[in-house]
Symmetry: C2
Subunit: 161 residues, 2 copies
């Protein structure tokens, strides 16, 4: 039995209808640059009031096709098992994904944004303003990711000349 | 009827047992500087593997005492009604809060962190690594907040001399 319930408040519209089409490892490559739409259900549209002049939002959405029973998993590209809480994989006990998106437009209960990586039709859970003062940590390090990046740099062939 | 279910995977231990004690508007004042603990339920402790060397994490938690039926609300300090999606108030259709925390220690299924602002015992939903490449947007602007800050600056007395 679940401990609490979620209500879907809208849907995210993206160009991707199969998981293999979705941007991968967008934390590395800024691959999620497509313009997407977010449709807010009618009852929740008044909650968009006051967003004028806001440039970035958090979208929280529900990865409803992801398994929820993996505590350790092997990422597609890395081949080494890691704990779910060390990964941004959609597979997790509560498959809530979050993306900081850039706002292009808000009109008629619809957001136009850049920065999501999910399947078309993904259920929306929440929208929050992005506060740089608390949400932005430029010096943050992900231990395994830094180690991997350094390793790749060492393996790269020397620059020509 | 809810559209999906959540499972609580641990609890956040903080010094605050009443809502009035919790840090307020922590996006403005960096008020949430207390050292807090996060207790992970035994079944989910293996999911912490691979976090060595990681400096910042996202905690997602469930504000289980917040009302869920407010689409417009008047923040305590500001006195002007705004849409829920323009605020970080815990009162929202899905009362999922998120905080980027600094990691001090991870040991025996327990995280020691700085950066949460919730009541003692708040249910934990998820832990994710913080990736500066996608999570950090230093130029993000919250429209109403900037307007308010500029207004306050105009109202401030001129600097002496």
């Amino acid at each position: 039995m679940p401990d609490a319930g979620l209500y879907f408040i809208g849907r995210i519209r993206t160009p991707w209808t199969h998981r293999s089409d979705c941007p991968k490892n967008s934390h590395q490559a800024h691959e999620a640059q497509a313009v997407c739409n977010v449709e807010i259900d009618h009852a929740f549209q008044p909650a968009l009031a006051g967003l004028e002049g806001t440039t970035h939002l958090w979208l929280l959405y529900f990865m409803d096709r992801a398994p929820r029973n993996l505590v350790v998993q092997v990422p597609r590209r890395y081949g080494e098992g890691r704990g779910t809480f060390a990964l941004r994989s959609p597979a997790r006990p509560n498959p809530i994904a979050m993306s900081a998106v850039r706002v292009l437009d808000i009109a008629e209960g619809r957001l136009t944004v850049i920065g999501v990586d999910c399947l078309d039709g993904t259920p929306l859970l929440d929208i929050k303003p992005y506060f740089a003062s608390t949400d932005c940590h430029p010096d943050a390090v992900v231990g395994w990711h830094r180690a991997r990046t350094e390793e790749a740099a060492e393996e790269a062939p020397p620059a020509p000349g």
